[in-house]
């Protein structure tokens, strides 16, 4: 009570930065728990992750900066990191301390980034992570000596085993209490830059100051070193276009003074690193290959490596289909149990329909993805953490370069054959933003498992059962296979076009670190899987749910459902009577009574059939007069060139939230009740009998093929679109995907129909 008037403590800010694959996210989770706030930096598509340091006496926010090898500020990620650390980002207070995480088993290369951070004028804490790997890699690291030489605190951690975390927290608090000294110029790698460069840097600083700017030393260095770097662009745009001329002149002078740009920077920095670690980091130099190299000799071997890769992929996808099936069936069973539970309590009506057909179907549509996502991500986490993922990318790279992507795109695309949702989420493993975007945008073209029921229905109803090669090859099988591969084939030119026109620029570099193999850590596996699941359920789930409700409403309103509800009630009454009579009664029955019951049953069945027919007729009437049905009639001229009538149009619109819905919708429209599956003989028969007003059959081989091609190429999956929205943090890309895929689907379906309409 006494402290009620005291102002809230200001939040202190620290930033976490390091190379990719240094265990940065594990360390972040270890420091902050798993309640990170994820968003976007203003104006750029770089993920902003902030967490609250747990167990700290005052509130401390930890900013997790994107993993980067350098602060040269060439890419958006690097620019964000530099701007955050220099306090140049609007709406983002400057961190008070930079926590630099280094891979203890690869200190030399990791110190390169450190040498740049060391020049930003911030107190620094060094974390030597993966400390448990130091001795197994044949290294001796004298952290104390390094700490003395740098004049900064060093903490050794193994984040995946939660070792050293408390010590690190203590050091963070101490550093915030009494700010550590900032690196002196003579301590920095910059001191080793050649003299002509220092002169040019001074000259440029003076020129900028004469124009009223106050550049930091680091910014001036970057301006001089990076060709077309980020700072040059921002300064040019901020009304100082002359800067380009100044820089060009300075570079010419540097060239003639024998100072090679940009080579001198890396050379000086690595020289500084060498001096720093001399005697402090000792590697047992051996000519013999390490155990990891020996494993690699086999796992990247021409034949063995390829075979192993195929085996692993086979195992992963078999496991997904095998292990996900049971929980998925369970979820569907729960959904149907819950629905019948509600039906038992609630009479037919709008509320019941909303709960069963809207809410339960919507929630089910989200929850049903969870097993697949969990299993795929468990495998991805295992493969990533043990080090094989990078090898898989290494093995597949050559193949993927033919479409302008890299080996890292292989697994996300392969996963999309099961379901695009986990596939798109798996694109996070691709560091190159452009590659990631192209992969993410073509992933929904891969034939996912929800397309299969549609193909099966159409193929078995309309493709002739012709057999070739003595019955071994069937035409139906060939069509099915073509449909399954159509999306992937179309994805090739699409990827090429996207790469060429939407994500052009810098030549693709594929410098990838291949870490030593290790046993995956359980904590890391748990965290990865949990993170992805929460992200999916919270972010994509809510939106998928809303779309389901919207489509339900469009199909339900504005029709008058009273007489349908009455018929449904009668039907349920008849069913419960039937159940009563067919259940064995304990009392002895004589023949008379048994005959009487049989008569009653026959009568009851007749009534059921009649009412069922009535219900089906009313359902199909109601859907025709619903908003959805009206839309179907409205778009008939649009879908007629594809060989579709308004009913197919309605079914296709209704299936935009989830493509597998088309079968249930077709069932409803063709008055069969909504309980249809792809092998229902009734639905196939009804479809074959459907006629245009002039008496010609609606469905022909051409129509069936046109529907299948449409489904193969169209983005009829709200879950996929919402996942794209989440992963790109923008509405632009789901809208783009939807537009390009629907256009492709329409053109593809039209071409197919026009080609085949005269054939059958």
């Amino acid at each position: 009570m006494l402290q009620a008037h005291s102002a809230p403590k200001p939040v202190r800010i620290v930033a976490l930065i390091g190379n990719p694959n240094t265990g940065k996210s594990s360390l972040f989770n270890a420091l902050c728990g798993m309640n990170a706030r994820v968003g976007n930096y203003p104006g750029v598509t770089v993920e902003q992750k902030v967490g609250r340091l747990s167990g700290s006496s005052e509130p401390v926010d930890v900013i997790d900066l994107p993993g980067t090898y350098s602060l040269a500020a060439r890419s958006a990620d690097e620019a964000v990191a530099v701007n955050v650390l220099s306090g140049d980002l609007p709406q983002q207070a400057r961190p008070e301390v930079a926590i630099v995480i280094l891979d203890a088993a690869n200190i030399e290369r990791n110190l390169y980034l450190f040498s740049q951070i060391f020049e930003l004028g911030l107190p620094v804490i060094v974390v030597l992570n993966m400390w448990d790997r130091v001795s197994s890699e044949g290294l001796t690291v004298n952290a104390e000596l390094l700490s003395q030489r740098l004049g900064v605190p060093i903490v050794c951690t193994s984040a995946n085993k939660r070792q050293g975390i408390d010590q690190l927290k203590k050091v963070i608090e101490q550093t915030l209490l009494a700010p550590a000294p900032i690196a002196q110029p003579e301590q920095q790698a910059r001191a080793l830059f050649p003299v002509p460069f220092h002169l040019e840097a001074k000259r440029l600083t003076e020129w900028l100051e004469s124009k009223g700017r106050k550049p930091t030393t680091y910014q001036v260095d970057r301006l001089l070193i990076d060709t077309d770097g980020h700072f040059q662009k921002t300064i040019c745009q901020s009304g100082l276009p002359d800067i380009a001329e100044q820089i060009d002149e300075a570079r010419v002078r540097l060239q003639s003074a024998g100072c090679k740009v940009p080579m001198f920077e890396t050379k000086s920095r690595y020289a500084w690193v060498r001096k720093l670690i001399d005697g402090a980091v000792v590697r047992k130099e051996s000519r013999i290959a390490s155990p990891s190299d020996r494993i690699d000799r086999w796992l990247t071997h021409r034949w063995v490596g390829m075979l192993f890769f195929i085996l692993i992929m086979f195992l992963v996808f078999q496991s997904i289909t095998l292990f996900a099936k049971l929980p998925m069936d369970g979820i569907q069973w729960l959904q149907s149990q819950a629905s019948s539970g509600v039906e038992a309590v609630l009479g037919p009506g709008a509320l019941r329909s909303l709960i069963v057909d809207g809410i339960f179907a919507g929630v089910g549509g989200v929850v049903v993805f969870i097993p697949q996502i969990a299993i795929l991500f468990l495998f991805i986490a295992i493969l990533e953490d043990c080090g094989y993922m990078a090898r898989a990318a290494f093995v597949m790279d050559k193949l993927m370069t033919t479409v302008g992507l890299s080996g890292k795109s292989f697994l996300p695309l392969m996963s999309s054959f099961a379901c695009a949702v986990p596939g798109i989420m798996a694109t996070r493993t691709i560091e190159n933003r452009k590659d990631r975007m192209v992969t993410l945008l073509i992933a929904p073209l891969m034939s996912c498992s929800a397309r299969l029921p549609v193909y099966v229905l159409m193929v078995s109803a309309f493709v002739p059962q012709t057999k070739y090669a003595g019955g071994w090859i069937s035409l139906q099988g060939i069509v099915l296979m073509l449909m399954q591969s159509l999306g992937a084939l179309v994805a090739i030119p699409v990827a090429w076009i996207l790469k060429k026109f939407f994500f052009p620029g810098e030549p693709a570099t594929f410098l990838m670190e291949l870490h030593s193999y290790k046993w995956p850590s359980l904590i890391v596996l748990y965290q990865r899987v949990w993170e992805r699941l929460v992200a999916f359920v919270v972010r994509a789930g809510t939106l998928i749910f809303c779309t389901s409700i919207l489509v339900w409403a469009a199909a339900y309103f504005p029709g008058d459902h009273r007489s349908l509800d009455a018929s449904v009630a009668t039907l349920e009454q008849l069913h419960s009577e039937k159940a009563k009579w067919t259940s064995p009664t304990p009392t002895k029955q004589n023949d008379d009574e048994r005959l009487k019951v049989e008569d009653l049953l026959v009568e009851n069945q007749k009534a059921i059939d009649e009412v069922q027919e009535e219900v089906n007729r009313q359902r199909s009437n109601l859907i025709e007069t619903s908003f959805l049905g009206m839309a179907g009639h409205r778009i008939e001229p649009l879908v007629k060139p594809l060989g579709w009538d308004w009913k197919i149009g309605v079914a296709v619109i209704a299936s935009f939230p989830a493509r597998e819905v088309i079968i249930a919708t077709l069932g409803t429209i063709y008055s069969l009740g909504s309980e249809q599956d792809e092998e229902s003989q009734g639905l196939q028969e009804q479809m074959r009998q459907a006629e245009w007003p002039d008496g010609k059959p609606v469905f022909s081989l051409a129509t069936a093929l046109s529907i299948m091609v449409f489904f193969a190429l169209c983005a009829q999956c709200s879950a996929t679109l919402m996942t794209i929205r989440r992963e790109t943090n923008s509405w632009r890309w789901p809208i783009f995907s939807f537009t390009y895929m629907t256009t492709l689907a329409y053109i593809g379906a039209w071409l197919t129909y026009q080609c085949f309409r005269f054939w059958s």
Binding site: R109, L139, D296, D397
Partner: protein
């Protein structure tokens, strides 16, 4: 006497060499240098991917995968 130089991609499995020069001043060249491929640094070839590209190299105590269009930028001198 200077030894004859070759491109890094010409290095055979298990062979080692000393880096002489990185060609070019663009992003690829800078990236290679940032990753520690600097003049006078030893580098050795660990193995090629099954389809012949990319290739795994050992440099500065770690393993890096380079595509051919990157490794051709690196001029090396085979160790005698």
């Amino acid at each position: 006497m200077t030894l004859p130089t070759i491109r890094l991609d010409e290095l055979g499995q298990g062979e080692s060499a000393i880096i002489v020069e990185i060609l070019g001043e663009d992003v690829v060249a800078s990236r290679l240098m940032e990753m520690g491929l600097i003049e006078e640094e030893p580098i050795s070839m660990v193995g090629r991917a099954p389809m012949g590209d990319p290739t795994e190299y050992a440099v500065r105590g770690y393993r890096i995968s380079l595509r051919r269009n990157e490794s051709t930028r690196v001029i090396v001198r085979k160790e005698p």
